[in-house]
């Protein structure tokens, strides 16, 4: 299954960036996130407790980054195993743009699910994935600016996203962690 989405975060790119450098912010924004562990620059392990409809379980995910064009875009390949609940695997492409002082994030995810997630959750995963992503960015935006909320726009094809120059920063690794969070939120929901 495929899904794409776009969020406009009412914060300057630099503020988003620094927030993404704060692990406590990220951990708090991913509901049920229990552990994020970096194995090397491209490989991560994440544990998230997730619930989709009647299925709830702790998912242990192995994530691999590829096509890194720091700090504009990444591809994240993930394989999350939830034991009795089944599994999810797939990839997410994430782009970050700046638009008139607002940060525009676009993502596209392709994933498939197996086991109980597929059996009883396939009807629910679209909505659940959307909700998890929405929740993540709502919480994320609130932490950046308590008066603002993330605005999710209608899903679009991310292929059209225009890549822009993005100021390089030594903190790119925290981007990875941030999008690991996003990706796991999205992937897990499938």
């Amino acid at each position: 299954m495929e899904q794409s989405g776009e969020y406009r975060i009412a914060a300057r790119r630099e503020d988003v960036w620094s927030a993404l450098n704060a692990p406590d912010v990220l951990g708090a924004c991913i509901e049920g996130c229990q552990r994020v562990e970096k194995l090397d620059d491209e490989h991560f392990e994440v544990a998230v407790k997730a619930k989709v409809g009647p299925v709830s379980a702790t998912f242990n995910a192995a994530l691999e980054l590829s096509d890194i064009e720091a700090p504009v875009s990444y591809t994240i390949n993930g394989n999350a195993k939830g034991g009795a609940a089944g599994f999810a695997k797939g990839s997410a492409n994430v782009h970050l743009d700046e638009d008139d002082g607002v940060t525009v994030l676009r993502y596209g995810v392709k994933a498939n699910v197996g086991g109980k997630l597929a059996q009883v959750g396939s009807r629910l995963v679209d909505g659940a994935a959307r909700k998890m992503a929405d929740d993540f960015f709502a919480e994320f935006s609130k932490r950046l600016d308590p008066d603002s909320v993330a605005v999710a726009t209608a899903a679009t094809d991310t292929d059209a996203a225009e890549e822009r120059e993005f100021e390089k920063s030594g903190g790119w690794l925290m981007w990875v962690v941030a999008f690991v969070g996003l990706a796991i939120a999205v992937i897990l929901a499938f």
Partner: protein, 788 residues
């Protein structure tokens, strides 16, 4: 219209007695497996593969064992290490080249490779169900995904699932004369061809499978309560093949069972693992499937792809039928999975017709999906679907009335016994009688007016026929064993007249919705002249009755009922000897009628109760006769029985939405003699509802990755009462010629005839050749769009 059926208080053969078992069912007093509990029992939850095909590299049970209340985790490999054998397939089918079918290894729980989503690989037992569930969620198996084969159409051209099973083919089976059929086609004036799919169905009995296994260490006795349609066979297989326990130390009890439809015939992994684990844990263990487990791991039904060709002469007489079918067997050969798409399918392709040349070839293909086995009708709905769809299409192509074309080709009453080109000998029948009656009830002549009225409402109305035949009363043992069956298919029965004159009847047949406790009591009451209320029918417990072969294939009355008649005859013979002695006469001078032994040409008589009492208190008793008044019999049928009939469906299709509404349905069936018409009607109603479900709603779908997409009631549509019209059910009677009751069996007919009738009606309404089942609104809507 349908016969009016009121319980009049009569209880003999032919009386519409209300089912005596229903009182306990509808008042919540049924005794189902999950109602049973044992002191100290543990609860089992299975860990099931989320992958359609994956190697198990290891199983980490540490977290699960750390869950409070978890007692043990047992794995498939442990079962193998304990010497527990594979779950066997009970029917050896040979390929057309004479080679034995190729069976995949089938350990009860996956040990090294899991081959379908939902296959169990471990079992967690705990002090509570919650702890067992939590434990199961904490078992981590290290799976390595392997390539999968899901699509049936390409399965035989895909990479092998099992080493040594090329093309994923268990067998290529054939029946009929290929050369003669080819010649018939060469001379044909007209040939109709069709490509048909028979959709995969998921059974969904109202009671999910369950079991409670116990081991008595003091005696070495095992007891397994389980939702089985055939406890005798279950015990045989678990002891002789799987080697869980010796047969004399294993008691199988199938108490009240809430529906089976075939899905509870088979010997499954779960009860095998539970009884094995109960001995290891030395504690009773209970397992009850959740509905989602039923979807994944109950054997599924149907799932065929077929190419069929029907050859006709210039008059429209059928001269040849060629059928090429690929049948999905799933990942493993289930207990009877091999026989359903072969001997229960190919043999029925003559239908009610005199088609002289038939050739059928069936490829049985493995896929990484749940095993496929018998489901209500088992092969015969698939055969009927092929024959009746292509016959209806032929009529359309020839511009003939579909009823007339069928009539022209039907076997006539005087032509019985009739040997078909596909190995069966029909003993009796009158097919036109059923057809005529059905046409009358549906008011065939008035169809065009109803069609015009529907058109004014923006609806397209269609009518469709199915003149089906089935082979029931499985089966003559010698023939079945010659054809590959692993056991005979007789049935056992015992009648014990107790000293006070009440009667305990034991049958190897099993009731899980069929109403044996009522029907069989009617038979025994009628036969022995003993009050119906004094007769108890006992079934489903290998500890109480002789070896028997259970209930499936509409065999209970024809085979199990006949065994009771044979036992009753023995009792009557013995009773004559006792009565003769007491009346100082010879047995030949004694007649028996309505419960009375009467001395000819005298006014002397004794009731059967008096005779029974005398046999248990043998003061004045024949010297050479054993005391007691109980007899048993095993009945082996001489032939199949051949219920047949005509089903006619009328549907209306809403052009705007594509919604199909089943407006009218007539079933006129010839079941031979009928013991209880109320139960017969109920069986037909249920069968037609299931057939309507197959035609319009139900479809078990795996995605391309092998994940079950229709794994809950949210996604798998079952028919509901408001989807169905008031069925018009009636009967004709040609008594079966070879069993003492003249009965044929009625359990499956509804599901056999109805899918073809409904699909013929839908395609008639739409004016199209075919639409694949189920005819969902989306498919129909697209078909209308593509056709306009």
């Amino acid at each position: 219209m349908s016969e009016a059926l009121e319980d009049t208080g009569e209880t003999g053969i032919g009386a519409p007695v209300r089912r005596r078992e229903d009182l306990r069912f509808i008042t919540g007093n049924g005794n189902y497996t999950d109602d049973l509990n044992q002191p100290g029992q543990l609860y089992a939850v299975f860990c099931r593969s989320p992958y359609p095909r994956a190697r198990i590299d290891g199983i980490d049970c540490d977290d699960a064992l750390a869950v409070p209340g978890v007692v043990a985790v047992y794995t498939g490999q442990q079962m193998v290490d304990d010497g527990i054998g594979d779950l066997p397939c009970g029917w050896m089918v040979k390929s057309k080249d004479g080679a034995d079918m190729l069976s995949s290894p089938h350990p009860p729980m996956a040990a090294t490779v899991a081959n379908y989503v939902g296959e169990p690989y471990a079992l967690v037992v705990a002090e509570s169900l919650q702890a067992a569930k939590q434990g199961a969620e904490s078992v981590y198996a290290d799976f390595t995904e392997l390539h999968v084969v899901v699509d049936l159409a390409t399965a035989t051209a895909s990479d092998e699932i099992y080493e040594g099973i090329p093309n994923n083919l268990a067998y290529t089976w054939a029946l009929g004369d290929e050369d003669a059929t080819r010649m018939a086609f060469a001379k044909a004036a007209h040939v109709t061809t069709m490509d048909l799919t028979n959709n995969r169905l998921i059974p969904n009995a109202i009671e999910p499978r369950a079991c409670l296994g116990m081991f008595e260490s003091a005696t070495g006795d095992y007891t397994l309560y389980t939702t089985s349609q055939n406890p005798g066979l279950e015990r045989l297989v678990l002891s002789a093949f799987v080697q869980v326990a010796p047969e004399h130390k294993l008691r199988i009890v199938a108490p009240d069972v809430g529906g089976g439809f075939g899905s509870k015939i088979f010997i499954y992994a779960e009860e095998t693992a539970v009884i094995w684990a109960a001995a290891k844990a030395n504690r009773p263990i209970k397992w009850v499937a959740e509905r989602s487990e039923s979807f994944l791991a109950d054997a599924h039904g149907r799932d065929h792809i077929t190419h069929a060709e029907l050859a006709m002469d210039e008059m429209g007489r059928f001269t040849g039928l060629k059928v090429q079918t690929t049948a999905n067997l799933g990942a493993y050969l289930s207990t009877f999975g091999s026989s359903v798409p072969t001997y229960l399918y190919g043999t029925l392709l003559a239908g009610q017709y005199k088609t002289p040349n038939i050739y059928v070839e069936v490829q049985g293909a493995y896929t990484n999906t749940a095993p496929v086995d018998a489901y209500r009708g088992a092969g015969r709905p698939e055969a009927t679907y092929v024959v009746e769809r292509i016959v209806e299409q032929a009529a359309r192509e020839l511009g003939k009335d579909p009823a007339d074309l069928r009539r022209m080709n039907m076997i006539q009453p005087e032509e019985f016994p009739y040997e078909t080109p596909v190995a069966l000998v029909y003993d009796t029948g009158n097919y036109e009688a059923s057809l005529d009656k059905a046409l009358d009830i549906i008011d065939y002549a008035g169809f065009e007016a109803r069609r015009a009225a529907a058109a004014e409402q923006g609806k397209r109305r269609g009518i469709g026929f199915a003149c089906y035949i089935e082979a029931c009363g499985l089966a003559p043992s010698k023939l079945a064993i010659e054809l590959g069956a692993g056991v005979g298919l007789y049935e056992s029965g015992e009648i014990r007249v107790n000293p006070t004159g009440s009667v305990s009847v034991f049958t190897g047949s099993h009731s899980h919705g069929q109403g044996h406790e009522t029907t069989f009591a009617q038979v025994v009451s009628d036969k022995l002249g003993i009050n119906y209320d004094d007769i108890d029918i006992i079934h489903g417990d290998t500890g109480r009755m002789d070896f028997g072969l259970g209930t499936y294939g509409s065999r209970s009355l024809a085979v199990g009922g006949s065994a009771l008649v044979a036992a009753a005859d023995k009792l009557i013979e013995k009773g004559k000897k006792i009565a003769a002695h007491m009346m100082q006469a010879t047995p030949e001078q004694v007649t028996f009628e309505d419960g009375q032994f009467t001395l000819q040409d005298s006014n002397q008589s004794m009731s059967i109760q008096e005779v029974a009492f005398a046999s248990y208190v043998p003061a004045d008793y024949p010297e050479d006769l054993e005391p007691g008044f109980a007899e048993k019999a095993f009945y082996d049928p001489n032939n199949f029985t051949y219920p047949a009939g005509t089903h006619i469906a009328e549907v209306e299709v809403d052009i705007e939405t594509g919604v199909v509404s089943l407006e009218d349905f007539v079933a006129v069936d010839d079941f031979g003699h009928i013991i209880n018409p109320l139960i017969v009607h109920g069986q037909v109603h249920g069968g037609v509802a299931q057939g309507a479900g197959q035609a319009i709603m139900e479809h078990g779908i795996y995605d391309e990755y092998g994940q079950l997409q229709t794994g809950s009631m949210m996604d798998y549509t079952m028919p509901r009462a408001d989807d169905l019209p008031d069925f018009k059910v009636d009967t004709t009677v040609t008594p079966c010629t070879h069993n003492p009751l003249g009965v044929k069996g009625c359990g499956e007919a509804g599901a056999i005839g109805s899918p073809a009738a409904i699909m013929n009606a839908i395609t008639h309404a739409l004016g199209i050749k075919d639409i694949s089942m189920p005819a969902t609104p989306e498919k129909v809507w697209r078909a209308i769009g593509g056709n306009s």
